[in-house]
């Protein structure tokens, strides 16, 4: 091998390999976006529901919620993923790689989201709920119209950071053979005997997550104004 065919460019930025494998990386990116979106939606919603349930102030609800949040935050997401992937079939509930990745990361995100949103709710002075209730609002109305708008504003910066770091964990899906970016890139890389697909994977991650990071920065600044 001589000239342009040798060395750094040939190894890491091989145009021929890139041309051959870009559809595989692109389909992996679609899968990453799909799982990521699903995780963000279910994880945040579940976290919000848990935080609201905790705000009801019943010990019967609070203790299991705290236990869930603490256990999920202690376990490495990879461990949750593997335990569910290999454990659920034993319980007669075999799930696809997509479903297990979605479920695991949703549970992990829900735990962090619950903590962030709960912290936001706790930081709203008690007088806010009292003032709202004193005008005849039901608990849920006071929560939705008065407490939550303030609580979410406070919860947003920690929450967006968690959303980003946990959706990036979709890469863990590669260990259960989910066809997302990293898994496809590793396959393509060993198939071609060239690491260029891994470089493409890194680029694909930037394409997917950099806008999210920029958006979260904008959201934080926009929401913090008041």
């Amino acid at each position: 091998m001589t000239g342009a065919d040798s060395g750094f460019l040939f190894t890491f930025f091989n145009a021929e390999v890139a041309r051959q494998y870009w559809p595989v990386i692109a389909s992996g990116a679609l899968m990453t976006v799909g799982v990521g979106l699903a995780v963000v939606v279910t994880g945040t919603l579940l976290g919000l529901l848990l935080a609201l349930a905790r705000a009801l102030g019943s010990r019967l609800l609070t203790l299991p919620i705290i236990a869930f949040a603490d256990i999920m935050r202690s376990l490495p997401p990879l461990v949750v993923l593997i335990v569910l992937y290999f454990g659920l079939p034993a319980l007669g509930l075999p799930l696809s790689a997509f479903a297990v990745t979605w479920l695991s990361l949703s549970l992990v995100l829900a735990a962090y989201a619950e903590e962030s949103i709960w912290a936001g709710i706790s930081a709203v002075p008690r007088g806010q709920l009292e003032a709202a209730r004193s005008t005849g609002m039901r608990w849920w109305q006071a929560m939705r119209l008065v407490v939550l708008p303030q609580a979410l504003r406070r919860a947003l910066p920690p929450l967006t950071n968690r959303v980003i770091s946990i959706t990036k964990n979709t890469a863990l899906g590669s260990v259960v053979a989910l066809n997302e970016i990293l898994n496809n890139a590793q396959g393509a890389s060993s198939h071609s005997g060239n690491p260029t697909p891994l470089m493409m994977a890194a680029f694909a991650y930037l394409v997917v997550f950099l806008p999210l990071v920029v958006f979260s920065r904008w959201l934080e600044q926009h929401w913090q104004q008041r």
Binding site: E130, A131, S134, G136, L145, R226
Partner: protein
């Protein structure tokens, strides 16, 4: 006709007994001031009237309805029993107009246009028509409290409970709020006011109630209470506050 009838009201937190049987009536159109040392249970008594605190004994009739009854819709009843808070408790994420309109819209289910026009009316009544778009953080303490009063007034309650409405204000802002309360009194609003403003109680109240140790020690007209208090506890309390009377 009594709007509020409190009888034998008791409230304890565990072993800590705050109210030991309070009896008090507030009649339609009356302005009743409750005075007394800190820890005498004034605010707790007030907060029992709209069930922000749950009484441990006794009864409260508000507009003829037993507030603690399981059959009473407390959210309906609270529209008849407005409250103004020491710390204002305005919603910081909403402007003054929306602070006032929120319950009109979501509790009384009025249309947006109707809620906003009633809210504007209430803000004008407290002299803040020009501040409708201002957020609480952009208002002075006195202005915030006037929005708080407008929020209560807009729902057209039968009685408004004032929980030390001027205690968190800078001295120079107190008079604005008191003037709004005097104006409300002139319009026939029934008001139960927990306050440390002795001059206001003396000049504006139809009746003054002195509480100490979780009971009503003595009550009477402002003149009776300030000029000829009968009970020694009232006398010593007023003597300590005497310098505030002008």
């Amino acid at each position: 006709m009594p709007i509020l009838e409190i009888s034998g009201l008791q409230k304890s937190y565990g072993d800590n007994v705050v109210l030991r049987g309070v009896d008090l009536e507030v009649n339609a159109g009356e302005l009743v001031c409750v005075i007394g040392p800190s820890g005498s249970g004034k605010s707790t008594m007030l907060r029992c009237c709209n069930l922000l605190e749950t009484p441990t004994g006794g009864t409260i009739l508000a507009n003829g309805h037993q507030v603690t009854s399981a059959l009473v819709d407390i959210n309906r009843l609270r529209q008849d029993v407005g409250m103004v808070f020491q710390q204002f408790n305005l919603y910081p994420h909403l402007n003054a107009l929306d602070n006032v309109a929120l319950a009109l819209r979501n509790v009384q289910r009025r249309t947006k246009a109707e809620a906003q026009s009633l809210a504007r009316e209430a803000l004008e009544q407290v002299g803040l028509g020009a501040k409708a778009q201002a957020f609480p953080g952009e208002l002075s303490g006195g202005q915030q409290q006037r929005v708080g009063i407008a929020r209560a007034v807009a729902l057209k309650p039968k009685v408004i409970l004032f929980d030390e409405p001027t205690s968190a204000l800078d001295p120079e802002l107190v008079e604005d709020v008191l003037n709004v309360m005097r104006d409300l009194r002139g319009r026939g609003m029934t008001m139960l006011v927990v306050t440390h403003e002795m001059a206001f109680a003396h000049a504006a109240a139809d009746r003054v109630v002195f509480m100490d140790g979780g009971v009503v020690v003595e009550q009477g007209t402002a003149a009776e209470m300030f000029e000829h208090p009968r009970e020694p506890r009232t006398q010593s309390f007023l003597a300590r506050y005497g310098s505030r009377l002008t």
